[in-house]
């Protein structure tokens, strides 16, 4: 790594660190990721994640032994929240890994051929998907299929790809008239080369930022689906499912709902702050 590169990275880090909210976001995200990855070893009551009953300890209020209390089956809610991070994060990552490449490629093609019939067809289809309220579409799809974690992921994927298409489209259509793209065309470079080696690298930063922000939103939608019963089913400790299960016991056993809800909010907030920080950073610096 050259001196110059080291200096640039240090500078980027300082700029990022100068905003306390961004750092807070980063720390929160790292915490969530850590807990998600290491939940089987870090959770105080790892058995709580699935089918487990311990009716002696059911519905206990928060205490030292169970900081988030226990649920109706006697499972430790703190541990289930850790595992909940795991599922929600997994869901978010799976969806984005599928959606981002697909949406981006479609957007690149439409943007590069802007003004043509192909562009019109692709973008109008994209517009249609964007016009439908996302929750409605997701609910409709899940209601048609069996309510499982997998199906809810499919539903969310279907309505998420247009955002990346639009993002890539905007960048590709503005870049296609830049001199460096024309220089590549003049040299005789093939269209795949221009799309993926010239234009795509310029999209990475905004896409990456959007992905970071999206993790939070995907988790929210997934949790909403779980909350209405169309997503992950018991005993999977998806945070939304946990919130739903606990509503029946409000307000006496409030900890069953409140703590998972706070966990969802915490995760989304963390990713949002981190995404904002990244966006501010990438607007000025090139990493």
């Amino acid at each position: 790594m050259t001196e110059e590169r080291k200096r640039n990275l240090k500078r980027s880090w300082l700029k990022f660190g100068s905003n306390p909210l961004s750092v807070l976001g980063l720390v929160s995200v790292l915490l969530v990721v850590f807990l998600a990855v290491f939940s089987p070893w870090v959770a105080p009551h790892p058995e709580s994640w699935a089918k487990w009953v311990d009716f002696k300890n059911a519905l206990l209020a928060p205490s030292w032994d169970h900081p988030f209390g226990t649920d109706v089956f006697g499972r430790d809610i703190l541990s289930r929240v850790f595992f909940g991070f795991r599922y929600d994060l997994l869901m978010a990552v799976s969806i984005l890994v599928l959606v981002v490449p697909l949406g981006t490629v479609i957007g690149l093609i439409a943007g590069y051929y802007r003004g043509s019939l192909l562009d019109t067809v692709i973008m109008r289809i994209t517009d249609i998907f964007l016009a439908i309220p996302s929750i409605v579409l997701a609910l409709a799809i899940c209601a048609m299929l069996e309510p499982t974690l997998f199906n809810s992921m499919m539903a969310v994927s279907v309505l998420w790809w247009p955002w990346y298409t639009r993002l890539a489209y905007g960048i590709a259509s503005s870049l296609k008239n830049e001199y460096f793209v024309q220089a590549a065309e003049l040299t005789g470079a093939s269209t795949p080369h221009i799309l993926f080696r010239e234009i795509l690298p310029n999209c990475i930063s905004p896409i990456f930022t959007k992905m970071t922000l999206d993790v939070g939103w995907v988790i929210l939608i997934g949790s909403t689906l779980s909350f209405v019963g169309l997503g992950a089913q018991e005993p999977i400790p998806a945070l939304g499912t946990m919130v739903a299960a606990g509503t029946k016991y409000m307000p006496d056993y409030w900890w069953m709902t409140i703590f998972p809800a706070i966990a969802i909010a915490f995760t989304i907030l963390g990713f949002n702050l981190l995404g904002d920080g990244l966006r501010d950073l990438l607007a000025v610096e090139e990493i």
């Binding site: 830049e178 065309e185 003049l186 040299t187």
Partner: protein, 320 residues
């Protein structure tokens, strides 16, 4: 007789816009001899850049013929044969946007070589060579454009253009965005390369002092039309078209010999009309101080007044 590498005949490029047809290039004809530089001069809206883009194929021509190395060029970049693209290259005006900010210099320079499958197995050496030719250190291959200054970026753009050993390079204001000293470096590099590799240049600039010392022949454009073409020294010592005289008299110069060379008493007046509303007859009639009656209704023909010196102006058209 010098061999002509590029012949442009009655080239036209029109754009249809909501406000009317913009005749960006309207009936332009000239030729370039192998190993020489042809300069195209003009102000904004003159069509000089569009001419270069049309010749290169970025815009397919609306009319006219372009002949390169004896073979006709049909249509735009997409319809031209790939082999042609290694013989014709271009250097753009803005160094900042002519290099992909996300690719390293080495990758940028390798692209033309890999597209045309040249220097197989010896690409790295070739890239080092072309960097040396423009006076840049070879460790630039790992750098990114944002780490380079404007002048260095332009040198990389030139290096990219010569990578495939082209016969012809179109240069659109290659040094206009740069300082006087950087400009000197760029131009000297271009001239050295031209001498060594016998490359022909189409050189576009609005800087007349520079043009005088770079081009063998100069053409001046106004609102899409070519008004005068002459060998470089003729162009400056004996300008014929009123617009040429107006332009030369506006050049800021610092020595008294240059001041003496400038045409006197031509004070530049008026604004350049919009290209959507090209004046009828001779395009320059609205600003011309030698305007005659028929200039407003009839467009003049391009007449060869002396060997190699052509002008499109009624006073020089012999009476029928």
């Amino acid at each position: 007789m010098a061999e002509e590498i590029l012949v442009v005949k009655s080239l036209k490029k029109h754009f249809k816009t909501s406000m009317g047809t913009v005749k960006a290039v309207d009936d332009v004809s000239f030729s370039i001899n192998a190993g020489e530089t042809f300069g195209l001069v003009g102000e904004s809206g003159s069509g000089k850049s569009t001419t270069a883009f049309t010749i290169m194929g970025i815009y397919p021509p609306t009319g006219g013929d372009i002949t390169f190395q004896g073979k006709p060029l049909i249509g735009g970049v997409k319809s031209r044969p790939r082999s042609l693209k290694k013989d014709m290259q271009m250097v753009f005006q803005d160094p900042g946007s002519s290099l992909n900010p996300r690719r390293s210099i080495g990758d940028i320079l390798e692209l033309p070589l890999s597209v045309h499958q040249l220097f197989e197995g010896k690409r790295k050496e070739r890239i080092d060579d072309i960097l040396n030719m423009v006076g840049l250190p070879t460790d630039f291959v790992d750098r990114f454009p944002r780490q380079l200054g404007g002048g260095e970026k332009q040198l990389v753009a030139i290096s990219r253009a010569i990578a495939t050993e082209p016969a012809f390079i179109a240069l659109d204001e290659p040094s206009s965005a740069l300082d006087v000293s950087m400009q000197a470096k760029i131009i000297n590099t271009l001239l050295n390369i031209q001498k060594e590799y016998h490359i022909s240049y189409l050189f576009i600039t609005h800087n007349l002092s520079l043009m005088r010392n770079v081009a063998q022949n100069v053409g001046i454009m106004y609102l899409g039309k070519l008004l005068e073409v002459a060998p470089s020294s003729e162009f400056f010592t004996n300008p014929l078209h009123p617009y040429t005289k107006m332009l030369i008299s506006s050049i800021p110069v610092i020595t008294s010999e240059e001041e003496a060379l400038k045409p006197k008493k031509i004070v530049s007046t008026g604004e350049i009309p919009s290209p959507v509303n090209v004046p009828k007859g001779c395009a320059f009639n609205t600003r011309c101080n030698e305007c005659m009656e028929n200039c407003k209704s009839m467009e003049p023909q391009m007449i060869e007044v002396e060997e190699g010196h052509w002008v499109k102006c009624h006073p020089f058209t012999p009476k029928a």
